[in-house]
Symmetry: D3
Subunit: 174 residues, 6 copies
């Protein structure tokens, strides 16, 4: 990355990283020199909403992108802070310089706009199915979920026992 590169920022929770995320990154890659992928809610894990640690998500994403031959990206865990008035400054201090933000989240868009950044709509790919919530529900119910994530992600989830973790966490709560 050089100073006149067009670097983009994309933030997600990636619980887990799925084929919809991958398609978004491929699409943005066509418009950017470098993409910074922020792993949001990095401090959370071991809940149904956020089962995987930031480190596990880091591994999922880097293996999946390697499988696709995507190399010009930065991967940065971002711990949530709920004071939205300082959130953009917080993010900007943790990631390499960027010129545009891709997001469909109204709060994210508004905050980056107020701070003077260019905000672009993130492309959408079959959001009902390619959805973290949908995948986690299927894991819990013992249904097929592997076709919704890149092959490399399914391997990581198997290595770390991800399905059993989600079921254990919800045991007796259903």
């Amino acid at each position: 990355m050089n100073s006149d590169d067009f670097n983009s920022l994309l933030i997600g929770r990636f619980q887990p990283f799925h084929k919809g995320h991958l398609e978004v990154i491929k699409a943005i890659a066509g418009e950017s020199d470098y993409i910074t992928i922020g792993i949001g809610s990095a401090q959370y894990s071991h809940t149904f909403e956020n089962p995987f640690t930031a480190g596990e998500r880091h591994l999922m994403i880097s293996r999946a992108l390697k499988g696709e031959g995507i190399e010009r990206y930065f991967l940065v865990p971002i711990i949530d802070i709920n004071r939205y008035a300082v959130w953009v400054a917080h993010v900007a201090s943790l990631v390499p310089p960027f010129k545009a933000v891709y997001s469909n989240n109204p709060l994210t868009k508004r905050l980056f706009q107020e701070a003077g950044y260019e905000v672009r709509a993130s492309p959408l790919f079959n959001v009902e199915v390619y959805s973290g919530t949908e995948i986690r529900k299927r894991m819990l119910a013992g249904q097929e979920w592997r076709d919704l994530v890149p092959k490399a992600v399914a391997e990581v989830i198997d290595e770390i026992g991800g399905e059993v973790r989600i079921r254990d966490l919800m045991k007796g709560l259903l």
Copy 2:
């Protein structure tokens, strides 16, 4: 990275990333499948001890490693927490799985040993000169510092106005 890879962890503040750091990483790379490089004290910037943000350091390191053809690494900012009894768990949750830690810091070594990790001595390269403190002092004094850092790092520091920042921060305090 696959589950039977030998992944190593190295943590530093990299204020800034210099040739000594680079030599350490090259040496460790020869013994590891993947290296996770933790950018410590990630929340700090704009002081003499920690002039550069985590994002700026991320950029320095990734450009320098690209220049060396090193590709099998993860780069992870790590915010300090001063409760040492939970520090290893904190780090472990933010980075991909690792099997050994390289460090010469007594506290770091002790904490990872208590937690059951293999700890290896980090190789040392001319530590009096290849030193962040030395480099920052030279920047402040207007002395030559560029030969102590990889060329890509000097470029990043120039792009972000790093020398002026350090001098501004210390103005009137010397």
Copy 3:
């Protein structure tokens, strides 16, 4: 304010400051030498519940009170802490000394009573209409809200683009 003055404390979120708040302050002013107005949840902004920053609310209130000729007050932002056992000590350290608290909130009343303060019921003025929630709903729906707030507050909200902010934040979430 002198040491034998009767200083009162009133805490609200003021999202936004409306005519009901103003009437309460006028009524308390008749019973007090000075009123300290605590701007609660000061760390929050950019949500539907708390759209305005503490600084923006500070400006609304001071302009509205100036318009009414009210001068004997202190305006103090108060960041929430959710440990109620220390909350009164937290508030007391941030504001000038006070002798009574006006509140209708059961928790606030109980906490100040346990700490030995005099607690008085806050007067109520048409609380269904003069309500921050009602005003924010009207802004969102494009309905008339300006007659519920002092003229000076409407001006501040217009200057900072408050209506658009609320609509942006909720876009796609309705």
Copy 4:
């Protein structure tokens, strides 16, 4: 307690400590040399969910156990942290060494298992009636609750005006 003792850990909120808790402790005491009783959510008080401070709960439990002649225990307040990846390390740093954890909570069980501890199911005693929620509801409704807690606990609650506190906190909110 000596180093070869079998020390157990039991964590609860104890809002308030009731006869079901007491039966659990008696049962665990038969299998352990020492029991560490962690008072969870120690930072909270003055809400319907958590009406009593950690200090008040400490007093309830120690008086109730004294009344039963139970002496081989440690009582430790534990402030919540919501980063589950470091929670076990947090707890382990605050309490004396322990070899097994008694719990029926899926998250607690999973986290201690991942950290390598033995986890045992906590015995259950009439959980519909011996329940903190049930007791707090009865206090609020002015119904009989004293037969659900040890006599010593009822005395503590009376000394600190616990019933009035719960009713005050919910005044106007029902």
Copy 5:
């Protein structure tokens, strides 16, 4: 304050507010429509460096300014955060909008400059004598300090027993 007013920001710790501070404010007042006075390190009190609470400092300043007939100001306590990359956003969210910052502190100047604000040098008035440190030392040593602060500030310090507090805090530590 209207939207085209020229509002200035001045931040200090004011431990205590002295005649040098007052002169600075008078000078800035001549160049500004409104001055926002930020009470820094608002969370600290009861140390030699920071003996007075934010609330006590609020009272000192407002009484002193009233004595001078200065009315067009905002007084805002500001809790320190040591992440300098987000500090300007933190301050900006707590205070009414401002166009210029008065400061002689190198870090403050640099941070506001990076964020795009106009920074002006703060005028200086006999800084060896009109100094919080000097005043606190004199209080501790039982020497004359009252001529260094506005009369209204000396009254507040006497009302709250400020001299005795400072001596108590240092008892046995000298």
Copy 6:
């Protein structure tokens, strides 16, 4: 403990618990029905100043007091908060009710006095030798330290490898 008991509070860091601490507790025990012993700086460990975790200190103290037949005490870890204006409320929420505080620390005495508690001077026993700092220095230097602590404390330190920990932490830093 009953509501008319005279309960005392004593706070220390106990790094480690030594014979001087024990003598203080014996002396206070003669004037109190119950003593609450607060383990201060509970969040720290693994430094030269604070080598032992709160849990390890809990174990040292309870075993030492058992060896002396002292039974009427509460042992409570207390995490530091550096906002002194709320510190007493913080402590009071974590411990059972108490009527007097024993302390020789000027800040502690002042804060509890301002909050209306009775403060008594803590008795002193050969403070040059019975000193945590002295004991830690001896451990580091390989000198005799066991005669400065109760026998039960020396046993705990040996079980947890305390001497090696202190030496490891300081390796290369001397």
